[in-house]
Every structure is written in structure tokens, then in C-alpha cells.
């Protein structure tokens, strides 16, 4: 395993409240810990992961190790979308993330999307090690690129790995790999869609949120496959579905694709709205 992390964060119970007992970061990563995000009465630590320049350049690797102690709640988010600049000499931009989530703890990872510029090469590896009754909300998403500059699905390579282990056993091993290929360009695979997201929900504290997400996503999914409207217009188009995973189908993964990034922001705000009771503020508020 790696020897030196770009960032290290530990959240533990201190005087009956969750607190960051270690928050180390070196260039190009910065950890911002605002104290007044969660409303009073909700015990949650919020941390913004910020990269200098708002993105990751070719050849840079940013690694972060996070530990969420027993009964603690940690929210990890970003200030804006993560930009991935074009690859120079074929070098990848890389992010590596490892999280340990302890007993009855909750980790909510809800970043803005990754936006790869034309000719960018990006890979991210995110591993989540959950104790048996730990809880996880994970959002991982990306856009087609800088549309305003007519860069649409114009990156060279995008690879995102999200692995979830429960008590050491793999329960969710997902890697999405999009590579440009002359015979099957990325744009042909994504059609008119410009934003793709994945939402993973796991843990006993999230069971009622999960149930309502299933109901709403199920109806939206049904509407999308039964209505003929989509055949003539792509306006406002969003496709979503969900699957269970893991022992006793305890985990939920929701997949979404939309023609506009704003539609997925709205989707996430709606589906995760009830999370504000656990984290002290509405997810993606103001975004």
C-alpha cells in the first residue's frame, strides 16, 4: 500500500462529539473544514477536498486516506467540479482514495462531477472498507467535458474504480472505463447524454432513505421505458435505474444518465434530501 498520502483525515469521537483529530494535506490538495455547515443539534463533520487550480494536471497523483471512527458522521464534498487537464506525454491524472468506516459510522461522499478536458487521461481508485454496521453514501459522477468549447466526450481515457468491502469481504466491485476507440467512440456510446452518475447507499442508518429512493427511482425508470415521448425529443431527458447488491441485497446502487448536468444535480438534491437529518444541511445545496 502507498507510503505517503497527499491527504490524511481522521474523524473520531471527542467529548461526545465527532471531530477531525487529524487533517493533513500537502500540495496540490487542501482540506477545508468549515465549522458551521451542519445546523446545531446534528453531529457531523464536513470537509471540502480542494485541489489547487480546481483540477488535476497530467502526471499528478492525489491520494487521500480517511478514517471515520465509531458513531461518527463525516461528509466529504468539493467546491466545484474537478477539472482534468489534457494529458501531456500520455501521463494520466490520478486520484486514489481509501476510507475506513467504523461501527455505526456514516461516510457521505458527495462531490461535484469530474470534467475531463479534450485529450485528458484520468483514473481514480476509491476503496471503502466498512465495518459490519457502517454506513456509506457515495456519489461518483462525470460530465461529457467543456461543452461551451465544443469538447464533448473528447477525452482520451476515463477510468473510475469504486470498491466496497464489508468486514473485509468484497461486496461491490465496480470499474467504469471509457477509452476512445476509432471503431466505438465514446460519443457513440453516450449518444445525447452529457452527464453520468452513480449513487451507492449502504448501511442500517440509511434503510428508510434507501426505500424511498427505490420507490421514486422505480417510478422514474418506469416512466422512461414506457413513455414514447423520448423518441422525438431529448429535452429534459434523464434515464435512471437501481439494483441491489451484497449479502441480503443490503446495498443499493442507482445509475443515472442525463442530457444536462443540472438534471443530475436536481436528481441528487431530491433523492438525498432526507440525508440532511443526518448530516445537518441539504446535499448539493446552492449547486
Amino acid at each position: 500500500m502507498r507510503e505517503k498520502w497527499t491527504g490524511e483525515l481522521t474523524v473520531e469521537q471527542c467529548c461526545s462529539r465527532a471531530a477531525a483529530t487529524r487533517a493533513y494535506a500537502r500540495y496540490p490538495l487542501k482540506l477545508v473544514l468549515p465549522s458551521k455547515v451542519a445546523c446545531s443539534g446534528i453531529d457531523a463533520v464536513w470537509v471540502y477536498l480542494v485541489t489547487y487550480g480546481g483540477g488535476i494536471v497530467s502526471g499528478d497523483s492525489i491520494s487521500c486516506k480517511v478514517s471515520v471512527g465509531d458513531h461518527c458522521t463525516l461528509v466529504l464534498t468539493t467546491q466545484s467540479s474537478t477539472k482534468i487537464y489534457k494529458a501531456v506525454q500520455g501521463k494520466f491524472s490520478e486520484q486514489v482514495f481509501k476510507a475506513l468506516v467504523a461501527k455505526d459510522a456514516l461516510l457521505v461522499m458527495m462531490p461535484d462531477p469530474v470534467t475531463c478536458f479534450a485529450a485528458a487521461k484520468y483514473k481514480q481508485i476509491q476503496h471503502f472498507f466498512l465495518s459490519l454496521d457502517a454506513n456509506l453514501v457515495l456519489v461518483d459522477w462525470f460530465t461529457s467535458g467543456r461543452r461551451e468549447r465544443c469538447e464533448v466526450w473528447a477525452f482520451e481515457s476515463f477510468r473510475s474504480t469504486n470498491n466496497v468491502y464489508l468486514d473485509g469481504n468484497p461486496v461491490f466491485l465496480d470499474t467504469m472505463n471509457l477509452e476512445q476507440d476509432v471503431s466505438l467512440p465514446i460519443s457513440s456510446r453516450l449518444q445525447d447524454f452529457h452527464s453520468v452518475a452513480m449513487l451507492v447507499i449502504y448501511g442500517p442508518r440509511l434503510s428508510s432513505i434507501r426505500k424511498r429512493i427505490e420507490e421514486r427511482v422505480g417510478s422514474q425508470c418506469e416512466e422512461a421505458v414506457r413513455k414514447k415521448k423520448h423518441r422525438s425529443s431529448t429535452h429534459g431527458r434523464l434515464l435512471c435505474s437501481f439494483s441491489s447488491f451484497g449479502p441480503s441485497d443490503a446495498g443499493l446502487v442507482v445509475r443515472v444518465a442525463a442530457v444536462e448536468t443540472e438534471l443530475i444535480y436536481d436528481f441528487l438534491k431530491q433523492e438525498l434530501a432526507e440525508l440532511s437529518d443526518l448530516i445537518g444541511a441539504p446535499p448539493y445545496y446552492g449547486k
Binding site: 466491485l173 456510446r189 421505458v225 414506457r226 439494483s243 445509475r255 444518465a257
Partner: protein, 249 residues
């Protein structure tokens, strides 16, 4: 006038693996033909690889989008499942196969694909155990699946069956991609997206793409298994919400 015999390369149009054995035994040819024959009862034709859902979601509506769908499905099969075919082909023991099956279960996060995979895998295991009763390991694997100690996912079963039958590794992987193409085109025909003649022509025209996928993905490790089509993955998970369904997945 004397006609010169065409070379292997000219016959097949392929220019790779020039180190293929000069002559395979007739026995193994028959085994491979039987494995990829639609007559071999493994229930492949109950599944559409997400094509039915993709059509109803408006992602496949003409021959161009169908061509993209099939290529994406082949690429996905190669990237996500071929590593498991390859790994289980090399496996010597049941314990290793159970572990691989567990990893594949965690990798198949799409519940529709996961369900199709274990259903087809179990059917293949049952048929192979009947056709090759001398391969005691197959009976053992069936017992493990029945006891709930493994899901019996298709890629893992296909690989170990080929390994036990002593086929060569590359043939096994090519056959797996061949089956994918066979089943998707069969589904496309039954969904009335193409006629049978056109489907046969597509099967030929996509051969080069399929072989290129095998070349790219052959012998990759399972830790490198990945999916390549988020849109089709999203649509496939909608399968249970379709109003009317011809296929199980």
C-alpha cells in the same frame, strides 16, 4: 489451370496468432462446435443482454444504434467477463472457483445482468455435467451451487468447463465472445429489429470487431475487469419495469 490453395490467413481474414497449432485434433473441434451450437441447451435465448430494455428506453431504434449496441455489448463482455473466463479456465480446484465466483458476483452490480449470469451459468453447468459425466468436478460444482455456496455465474462456469475439457485458452475466450454475439443477434431477430438473413450478415461483419476485442482483453486479470457502457448498464437495470417482456433480461 491449377488453383493455388488459399492460406489460413486468406480464408479467415485474420492476421494474428500465427503461432496457432497447425492442426487441432478432430475431437476438440467437435467439442467446441457443440459448446457454441444453439442446440446446446443452456438457456441463452431467454436473455437479450439488455437489448429489450435499451429499445424501450429509446437507446436503440435503427440499424446504426443497433450496431453500436452490439459492439458495446461485445466490448463489455470482453472487458468485464473475459478476465473471469480466463481465470477460471486456469483454475485447478473447486475452492478457487468458488472464490472467483464470489468476486464475479460482487462485480456484477447490475442485478439484471447478475440474475442472467447465474441462470445461464447454472444451465450450462447442468448440461455440461450431463454431457460429460466423466468430469467429476462438474458434479461437485453443481452441488456447491445447489447448496448456495456459489452463484454459478456463466463466465466462471464457461471457463472451467473449457479448462476441464482441455480446450486451448484462446479458443475458449473466442468462443465466449462468439456466444455473446450469437445471443444478442438472436434477441435482435426476435425483437424484430433485424431479419434472420440480415442478422447472419451482421454476425459475419462483426467478426473482426469481436476478434479485436479478444485480442485486447485476452488474459487480463480479474482485478482489471471493467464495464464500458454506462448508458446500456443503466437501461438494462430497467428491465423489470418494462411493460411487456419477451426476455428474462
Amino acid at each position: 489451370m491449377k488453383l493455388s490453395r488459399p492460406s489460413v490467413t486468406q480464408c479467415t481474414g485474420l492476421a494474428f496468432r500465427m503461432d496457432l497449432p497447425a492442426k487441432k485434433s478432430q475431437g476438440s473441434d467437435w467439442v467446441v462446435w457443440q459448446l457454441v451450437d444453439s442446440f446446446f441447451p443452456t438457456g441463452g435465448f431467454a436473455h437479450s443482454y439488455g437489448l429489450e430494455a435499451a429499445v424501450q428506453a429509446g437507446l436503440v431504434s435503427d440499424s446504426k444504434s443497433l450496431d453500436t449496441f452490439i459492439k458495446s455489448t461485445l466490448e463489455n463482455s470482453g472487458s468485464l467477463l473475459l478476465p473471469f473466463v480466463s481465470a477460471s479456465f486456469k483454475l485447478p480446484d473447486v475452492a478457487g472457483w468458488i472464490e472467483l465466483d464470489r468476486l464475479l458476483n460482487a462485480t456484477l452490480s447490475n442485478h439484471v445482468a447478475r440474475r442472467a449470469s447465474s441462470s445461464q451459468g447454472s444451465a450450462l453447468l447442468r448440461t455440461a455435467a450431463t454431457v460429460y459425466p466423466d468430469l467429476a468436478e462438474l458434479g461437485e460444482l453443481r452441488g456447491v451451487v445447489r447448496a448456495g455456496r456459489a452463484s454459478g455465474h456463466h463466465a466462471g462456469v464457461f471457463g472451467i468447463v473449457c479448462g476441464l475439457l482441455k480446450l486451448d485458452a484462446l479458443t475458449c475466450q473466442r468462443a465466449y465472445l462468439y456466444l455473446t454475439l450469437r445471443d444478442v443477434l438472436s434477441a435482435a431477430t426476435r425483437l424484430n429489429l433485424v431479419g434472420p438473413l440480415q442478422a447472419a450478415a451482421m454476425q459475419q461483419s462483426l467478426r473482426g470487431f469481436g476478434e479485436a476485442v479478444v485480442r485486447k482483453c485476452a488474459d487480463r486479470g480479474v482485478e482489471d475487469a471493467c464495464q464500458v457502457s454506462p448508458l446500456l448498464d443503466t437501461a438494462q437495470a430497467c428491465h423489470d419495469h418494462l411493460f411487456s417482456r419477451l426476455f428474462c433480461s
